[in-house]
Amino acid sequence: MLVKGIKSRPEYKGLDVDRHAKRHLFVLEGEGAGALTDQVEVKGRDFLEKSEILYLPAGAAPKAYDVSLQALSPDVFWQAPTLQPMLFRLRACLEQARMGTRLYISGTEGFIGQIMQVALEYGMDFNSIHTEHRGSTARRVQCVHCKGITDNVTTSPFSCTHCALPLLVRDHYSRRLGAFQGVNIDAEEPGTAPQPEEMFP
């Protein structure tokens, strides 16, 4: 479970398939596949023929969620090798999307944040997008000093992959950047940063 009580972080309320939608666009990462298969169990299979699934296996490849997603026989199933082509394909989908399309995102927080950023670019209201956190609680962090973003941060402090400053991961999240804030932890006495602790497994 994610840490609660972070005021700036969006709430991930869980997927809840909207029966009235004309089309469903699922964007899933790794364990996020389970959020959709759980919905099938609750809501039945009817919505699948109006569904397009974009799936990124990420760290969960050995669990072969792609096989179970394909077995659902949605209208479209497409698997991305990495995030970049996933975002490219998503843009194409949103470019062509009609009124009545619902977007559902599930996976790690960094993944949800980045998919959400694209959706916001296309003028979707973040309140209308269904999101569900699944998988690791690793964070995507922006270094406030050099502005470089590091994905899948599991410890605090951690060393910025861009400028190498040791960063404390602050409980402050920007939806616009899709990232938490990282602030130099030993700014006052350089060299005194504590050992990294696994905070976001």
Binding site: K7, S8, Q142, V144, H145, R170, H172, L177
Partner: protein
């Protein structure tokens, strides 16, 4: 009233000082001997002469030097000034408001002449004389908010109102107490105040938001906020924390009076006429402890306030390291006599 503008710096050799007259007009933020968060808002109306409340947009002896420091910050980091695309009308609102107030209250220094949409703006202290078309950004050297806030003291956020919330959608922020415009832009009121301890739990932000959503045009409101900074440094951004953070280790019982500065923000909020957005002005005033203790009432009260702070606030305001040194040093100015109510010197 002609102001003599000081030539001074807020970095490197730190030559910033307050004149005797400026010390007397400093907005000391503590109206009693202890401190707690509150929604301490009051109408932003003209106050007594020779205080910072005399005019609603205050210009003081630090004006020119502050504007030079802002220009340096922007050269290093252009992200300190940003505006989301839907904020253009609000930017013009801000330009008009600041030009009108500065020109009306400081006619020796600023002149605004309007001929329909053709406006002429003269800023004598900065040697600016520009004619432009109100509403046409291509007639100014910068976008309107950046243009005018490069010529006005304080940080500026323009806050959009929608969905029963306020959204930080534009800003010029170069003199902040450790928060990042680039990170917070696009956030709503609760989100950008997320990291502030205690205040959420006691409902301060719920009450403040409710109050601000009802802010009326022509009825600005204000509050004071404070923190402390080592050296008279205006740019204490998180972006540069690794550059100014080491200053905190340089405070000793010998130099605390000269190094430690009380940093007070006069925050004023203005409903804007065309955009219905709110302008949030965060004007920063600095005073060294040496300067502050020349006013006996403040010298007595400050150590009492510092003693009474809850641990969360000590930490949030970055005072953990130097609070004991300050309290020890200030103690000799506290003779135990009662202090009078209110913030002004006796």
């Amino acid at each position: 009233m002609t102001i003599t503008f000081r030539s001074e710096t807020f970095r490197d050799d730190f030559t910033f000082r307050n004149s005797l007259a400026n010390i007397r007009r400093f907005p000391f933020p503590f109206d009693r001997d202890e401190y707690m968060y509150s929604v301490n808002m009051e109408p932003h109306v003209r106050g007594r002469k020779d205080t910072i409340f005399e005019n609603l947009i205050d210009v003081d002896e630090h004006y020119v030097a502050e504007m030079q420091d802002r220009a340096m910050v922007l050269k290093e980091d252009p992200l300190r000034c940003q505006a989301l695309p839907h904020m253009m009308t609000a930017q013009w609102d801000v330009l008009e408001l600041l030009m009108e107030h500065q020109a009306q209250d400081y006619p020796e220094h600023f002149t605004l002449t309007k001929d329909g949409d053709r406006w002429r703006w003269i800023n004598r202290p900065m040697g600016i004389d520009d004619t432009f078309t109100f509403g046409d950004p291509s007639t100014l050297p910068y976008p309107p908010m950046e243009y005018i806030t490069r010529q006005a003291q304080g940080d500026f956020c323009i806050v959009d109102q929608r969905d029963n919330n306020l959204w930080m959608d534009a800003g010029m922020v170069t003199t902040q107490a450790d928060w990042s415009l680039d990170f917070d832009i696009g956030m709503n009121f609760m989100e950008w105040h997320g990291p502030v301890p205690l205040a959420h739990q006691i409902g301060v932000f719920d009450r403040a938001l409710k109050f601000l959503l009802n802010l009326q045009q022509g009825k600005p409101t204000r509050r004071l906020n404070w923190t402390m900074t080592v050296n008279p440094r205006l740019d204490t951004s998180p972006e540069n924390y690794h550059k100014w953070g080491p200053d905190r280790l340089t405070v000793t019982p010998e130099n605390v009076g000269q190094k430690m500065h009380l940093r007070v923000e006069l925050q004023s909020l203005w409903r804007l006429p065309r955009s219905n957005a709110i302008l949030f002005v965060i004007r920063c005033y600095l005073i060294s402890l040496d300067e502050l203790v020349t006013v006996p009432k403040w010298a007595r009260r400050l150590p009492r306030v510092l003693q009474s702070l809850p641990p969360e606030i000590i930490d949030y305001k970055g005072l953990t390291r130097n609070r004991p040194i300050m309290i020890d040093w200030l103690a000799k100015y506290d003779d135990g006599a009662p202090t009078s109510a209110g913030i002004f010197p006796d």
